[in-house]
Amino acid sequence: MTMLEIENLHATAGDAEILKGIDLTIRPGEIHAIMGPNGSGKSTLAGVLSGRAAFEVTKGSILYQGKNLQELDPEQRAREGIFLAFQYPVEIPGVTNNYFLKASLNAIRTHRGEEELDAMDFLSVVKEKMKIVEMPKDLMGRSINEGFSGGEKKRNEVLQMLLLEPKLMVLDETDSGLDIDALRVVATGVNHLRSPERSMLVITHYQRLLDYIVPDVVHVLSEGRIVRSGGRELALELEEKGYGWIEEAGA
């Protein structure tokens, strides 16, 4: 079975059509990268996949593991194994990161028919994952993302991903704003989850990330359409020449 099958997807935000006919198929174990200019619709695609209410699918279909994704609420998608690492993780005052991650993991475990973890068991699981992303301990006791540095927020996203062990991961510019060391750490975290059963959709502006997370396919999104797909050498080419040549060639 395919992991994700998108056919002729059109989506709007308000009155504006942003996605204008996307076709994309991802099989288990594959890593697909999406690159493209600012405003081309990358985050919109990620939002549509995770069930963000601001977007409306007006045409086409999305099948996730054979299921019609549009029928599922955001929480149901998460429980079924879709994970979006946010481009801009949200700060939530008054709810500790620790409480949040435990509630989240337990919601997903319950859905999988597993027992909820108590505070002690959760602590030992989360500790181990925190090591992988070199996350400072005190961030667990603080409010979700509140006052976290840009890099800490991204680490927190990857930490959640490691805990929840999703099947389809959508990473929306998880590399942006990271220094070289943080980039390596985050990539290590992501690679921890690489397996023949899991797939990833990696949105990035930089070929550098793809040195660490090596994609099977690279797509170029421009004005709401995939205008080119190729191997990882496409990313190198883009880095060198920019997007102009593709957009011209496509026109």
Partner: protein, 426 residues
């Protein structure tokens, strides 16, 4: 409405003549009865009651109980969990329940119903002539507590006011002397034994002597059918510190008045409040801080959560007297509306007569942030749970300021429980 108020007034006045009060209350009753006879119950024509209609409260024939129930300790523990402190005293329908007290700490707790003479502070800070429900309390109070805080008392005093009988009213009175240089915590905990409809009308007078510091926690968690009117009048002397925490978790009708006079230089007052309006409830907080002398600080944070068709009222009055230079006063009243039917009237009222002062205030009315909600849901947390978490997160700023972490945790759980039990959304 006038007629209803007058018959309610007559019923209460009749109760005031039914029995002779305990010795400590004789003088108070005489004066307060006169004031209550004069002024009666408030109508919406009075500025302080402009948003709050007491017709429903006045329409119920509240009984005065003379023989209190004597529930077992376990019944109290069930509703007042956790029992926070060793200095525990329990009042049922306004009467002290002698069998349930805990072991005393450094603070002294006396029950006013069995004290031979009134403590000096009784009737001195809460003005029966200015406040109709203070007058009513004075006219009918027959028990309560006097707490003297000495030295440094690490153990809180926990006074539980439990309502037991249907349609009963109680008028508890509390007097607190925080003596010079002392440190203490006092928790006044209003609970309901059986979820009966009842009316509690309490008055607290609290004096913070020089260099003393006190946390005063007022919990109102008696449930959706309770009517609660509470008046706290405080006075803080030089370098004294009073921190109030007024936590109101539901109720059919809740009105809290808090007035604090900063009477000595260097006095500080922090007023924290959290109110949860549920169902058709009304929750009204009127606060008043009086900067009477220079170099005093007041900080006020009241947060409101309203759902169903609940209505909230917040009026925060800050007065800075002409010679109270170098005063610092902040006030903030953010509100979260969880339903379309919920409402809040919020209004700061700053009266600043000195020129060298730092004062700021702000009120806000908002809804749950959709992006935050989506973030939680995208991690598998169901919508209702996510809303509950965000709402509790909103309240956390006030709850986490409670004097003991265990108290903060317990109240956070009670808050969520009340919200989930009755909290509807639209």
């Amino acid at each position: 409405m006038k007629d209803a108020l007058q018959s309610a007034q007559a019923r209460f006045l009749a109760q005031a003549t039914e029995r002779i009060p305990p010795p400590a209350f004789v003088e108070l009753r005489r004066e307060a009865t006169a004031a209550f006879t004069d002024r009666g119950l408030p109508t919406m024509k009075q500025e302080e009651w402009r948003h709050t209609n007491i017709a429903h409260l006045a329409g119920i024939e509240w009984a005065a109980l003379h023989e209190p129930l004597a529930p077992p300790r376990s019944a109290i523990e069930d509703v007042a969990t956790p029992i926070f402190a060793c200095g525990l005293e329990v009042f049922i329908d306004g009467h002290h329940h002698p069998e349930l007290h805990g072991s005393p700490g450094a603070s002294e707790v006396e029950t006013l119903g069995s004290t031979p003479a009134p403590p000096a502070l009784l009737g001195r800070l809460a003005d029966a002539k200015a406040h109709p429900f203070v007058a009513l309390n004075g006219a009918l109070a027959c028990d309560g507590a006097r707490v003297r805080v000495h030295g440094d008392d690490p153990r809180a005093v926990h006074l539980v006011f439990a309502q037991g009988s249907e349609d009963a009213a109680s008028h508890p009175r509390v007097v607190i002397d925080a003596e010079r240089g002392s440190r203490g915590t006092i928790i006044l905990d209003h609970v309901s034994l059986a979820g009966a409809r009842h009316f509690a009308n309490s008055v607290v007078e609290v004096e913070i002597a020089e260099e003393a510091s006190l946390d005063l926690v007022i919990l109102q968690r008696a449930g959706g059918t309770s009517f609660h009117v509470g008046h706290v009048a405080g006075r803080v002397e030089r370098n004294g510190r009073l921190r109030t925490h007024t936590i109101s978790l539901g109720g059919r009708f809740v009105r809290n008045d808090l007035e604090v006079v900063l009477a000595g230089e260097g006095a500080e007052c922090t007023m924290n409040g959290l109110y949860l309006g549920l169902g058709e409830g009304l929750i009204d907080n009127h606060t008043w801080v009086d900067h009477a002398v220079p170099h005093c600080t007041s900080r006020e944070l009241y947060k409101g959560v309203l759902t169903g068709s609940a209505r909230g009222v917040f009026r925060g009055r800050v007065v800075v007297r002409p010679d109270a230079q170098k005063s610092e006063a902040t006030q903030s009243n953010p509100n979260l509306l969880l339903s379309d039917g919920a409402e809040i009237d919020t209004k700061p009222q700053l009266e600043i007569y000195a020129n060298d002062v730092k004062c700021s205030h702000g009120a806000a009315i908002g809804r749950l942030d959709p992006e935050s909600l989506f973030y939680l849901r995208s991690r598998g947390i169901g919508e209702d749970e996510a809303r509950g978490l965000l709402t509790r997160g909103f309240a956390a700023e006030v709850l986490s300021a409670l004097p003991e972490p265990s108290l903060a945790e317990a109240m956070s759980a009670v808050f969520l429980e009340k919200l989930e039990a009755t909290g509807q959304r639209t």
